[in-house]
Amino acid sequence: MSVAALTKTKQKLSWLSVSSVMVAFLLMLPILVIVGFVFSGSADVFKHLFETVLADYVGNSLLLMLGVGIGVLVMGIPTAWLTSVCDFPGRKVFAWALLLPLAVPAYIIAYTYTGLLDFAGPVQTFIREATGLGYGEYWFFEIRSLTGAMLMLALVLYPYVYLLSRSAFLEQSASTLEVSRTLGYNQWQGLFRLALPLARPAIIAGLTLALMETLADYGTVQYFGVSTFTTGIFRTFYGFGDSAAAAQLAAFLLGFVALLVLVEKYSRRKARYHSSAEYKAKAKLIELKGVKALIAFLICLGPVLFGFLIPAAVLGYWSLTKANLSDGAFAQLAWNSFYLAALAALIAVGFALILAYAGRLNPSKVVRAAVGTAGMGYALPGTIVAVGVIIPFAWLDHQIIAAARSLFGLDLGLILSGTLVALLFAYTVRFLAVSLGAVQSGLGKIKPSLDGAARTLGRTPLQVLKQVHVPLMKSSVLTALLIVFVDVLKELPATLILRPFNFNTLAVRAFELASDERLVDAAPASLLIVVVGLLPVILLSRSISKGRAGS
């Protein structure tokens, strides 16, 4: 390799690092705006919160995280393992059906189960009519409680763990299992000593996503009357009308998340998880029969039944029998939701690839810091992200307007902050962590020696990415696209604040009716969110399975 070529490569390398730092900075901008509030505003509100409700908020948030964490692991890992390593009746259907709850927004599942299970709902009414008992004379699970919120969130968030750990189990080559047999492990030992530890980065990535989403959740906990740190942020924003104090609280939330991420990184330290196999043989599935097959079937059925089938059936029933469908325009709403989600998915995954790739090629401190911080927006409630986006965008708009006026005498108006640009940017800030997690865990499993080999053969970093990595991480990239797409489809608060005139999405429509206490009328839009989310979920999960079989 000539000196000139080497310099050229170095330049390209640094070009990638520079752009990764720029991407990270861009995405951090709203977060920096929020953190900036820590140094402004009064301590007055803070003092009040600290003296009265803060301990409660923090306690509830931690309990909620614990409950949701356990829930998503218990539902996500066994199902992922069963559908990727074992064979039992229904496995192929469950492989994609287990993803379906991902398409159900948490606040919608909360509304649905409340309608079904609360005191005035059909289930309890039936119990009372059948037994003649009155309120307080029998025990029934109180859905609107901390436990209820844990269940609702876990039911729709476990697919993160399922999805990521399943693709990890699938990518574990047959030889891994053979090794486990060589070591004299039985199936269970193989699972606990090899498969699970090897899948750990993916499991942790899924768990982290679920927990961050839990922290950011407002709709569910608010509806259930559970005071968490996030409801505290909104109480401060809406109740006191103090966006600065709300931003301060949000900054603390961020600090907590940063700590969490650091602890996780530290616990992994120098461990590396690369797939050792150059050639991936299709692993032979463990065949389950009789009672074992039945148990596996039930384990997989549970999450699908409670996380998707029941809520979808209730929504379908409400839509068909009771809802007022007159103010339709559903096709337009569905298209708006769909193309926003698709665009945001492409942008977020593009940025994630830049960041993950820069982090791999040039793991300098700056780049690592950039990669580590770019995804922080995921733990912030959408409303706070939106506030963080609109402040710098409006500032920039004002500069552009002033420049246009003085240079051309034009009145441009808001170019960035009142348009879909701001909205797409907010989605990227909020959901980058999702795509980054998936892309990184895929990239991490490709041996660095492969890069080296390709580079020796004269490939540029970009070519290595395109010709070596992308084919190898097809399923990871698809996973990333899928999750961001579905997340944006469900996203509400940022959409609500930042969208342009006369522009609505399905989530906005569903929320407006539901928050106006017209749950039944909200059902058709909610159901459509689920339906629009289904198609990509099914397509992509098929492609993930195929990717495994074909490679």
Binding site: D516, E517, S543
Partner: protein, 350 residues
């Protein structure tokens, strides 16, 4: 589906999406064209769009609408500043109107017609905002379980005789905050706090859900009293759904404080934004909102009380009975909001 087909799909969709985005970009929200007005509304689409469409039909003025939460829209107005395309800001409570005025995003506007139609207590004294509809926040009791003679005032709800018998939603809700703010004005902060503590002890269950949920809970036997806005009850009462009618038939509205200040009222309202470019059209729209047609529409569709005197109250509302209303200057609700939230925190009202 393989990767190629998938990326093709994404590219196709992506380009279609870009075209859609582009079509939205050159915003037609600027006002060289005269027939335009831009609205930021905290009032939900379903409860404002039909009226706006009528306005467009009658005047030929195009209305652009964004709905959202009041505080978020307010923040948007603030940061957009002089470049904001909004001409009108619509909220569903007086506290937020006051907050908007304080934040400096509204301007004095109006017309003789508005000032004559709307009573002084239902608009800002200086003309920054005008009430559009009214709603009462009152007490509903379960027939047969409560003798209306036992009920008297909001203050009385803290009496231990109601222990474990009251349903009310979270103090996060602005309607509760406004009710408490009105009490701070009437009886002072420390008495209100003592009242809130007593009330919390009387809760039948920890607060959750919305007003309709409190009414449902009362009808189902969880509690004997529910505090709710009148239109939520009206919706159940006038529903086509028999189970909802049955639910409403178990409850009766009680009008408290009839011997002193009256029932706590709130308004939905509207103000012209500070940097509005279509002020004339904005005022025309405000006048349309207070026309007999719109006032009757809100009363019939959403069971809200008109702000304009002399508008005939439809049968659905009239059936709840007549009452005397608290005529507190509504901006007080905004001024006392912070104190109200803080004292509810201290009282343990979740």
């Amino acid at each position: 589906m393989d990767k190629k087909a998938l990326s093709k799909l994404f590219i196709t969709l992506g380009s279609a999406a870009l075209v859609s985005v582009a079509s939205l970009l050159p915003t037609s929200v600027f006002a060289d064209e005269s027939g335009l007005v831009n609205v930021y509304s905290a009032r939900k689409e379903a409860l404002i769009k039909p009226m706006l469409e009528r306005f467009t039909e009658q005047t030929g003025i195009t209305v652009n609408l964004v709905t959202g939460k009041a505080d978020a829209l307010l923040k948007r107005l603030e940061v957009e500043g002089s470049a904001s395309p909004a001409d009108l800001f619509v909220t569903v409570d007086a506290g937020r109107l006051h907050r908007a005025k304080e934040a400096g995003v509204l301007q004095v506007s109006g017309s003789d017609q508005l000032n004559q139609a709307i009573p002084a207590s239902l608009r800002d004294a200086e003309g920054y905002w005008y009430g559009m509809t009214q709603r009462a926040r009152t007490i509903f009791y379960v027939k047969g379980k409560v003798n209306p003679d036992e009920l008297s005032t909001y203050e009385d709800l803290a009496d231990p005789k109601w222990k474990g018998r009251i349903c009310v939603r979270s103090s996060n809700n602005i309607y509760n905050q406004s009710l408490v703010a009105s009490m701070v004005d009437a009886i002072g902060e420390s008495k209100t706090e003592a009242w809130a503590k007593g009330l919390v002890k009387n809760f039948a269950k920890p607060p959750s859900g919305g007003d309709t949920d409190q009414l449902k809970a009362a009808a189902a036997g969880v509690c004997d009293l529910a505090i709710a806005n009148t239109y939520y009850f009206g919706r159940l009462l006038n529903s086509d759904d028999e189970s909802k009618q049955a639910l409403a038939s178990k409850l009766v509205a009680f009008w408290p404080n009839q011997n002193d200040r009256g029932v706590h009222m709130n308004v939905s309202g509207v103000g012209v934004t500070k940097h509005a470019r279509n002020i004339d059209n904005a005022v025309k729209l405000m006048e349309f909102m207070t026309s007999a047609e719109s006032q009757t529409w809100y009363a019939e569709i959403n069971n809200e009380y008109p702000v304009v005197e002399g508008v005939k109250i439809p049968a659905n509302l009239a059936s709840m009975g007549e009452f005397s209303a608290d005529d507190i200057v509504l901006s007080k609700l905004g001024e006392n909001n912070r104190a109200a939230v803080q004292l509810m925190d201290r009282a343990g009202w979740k």
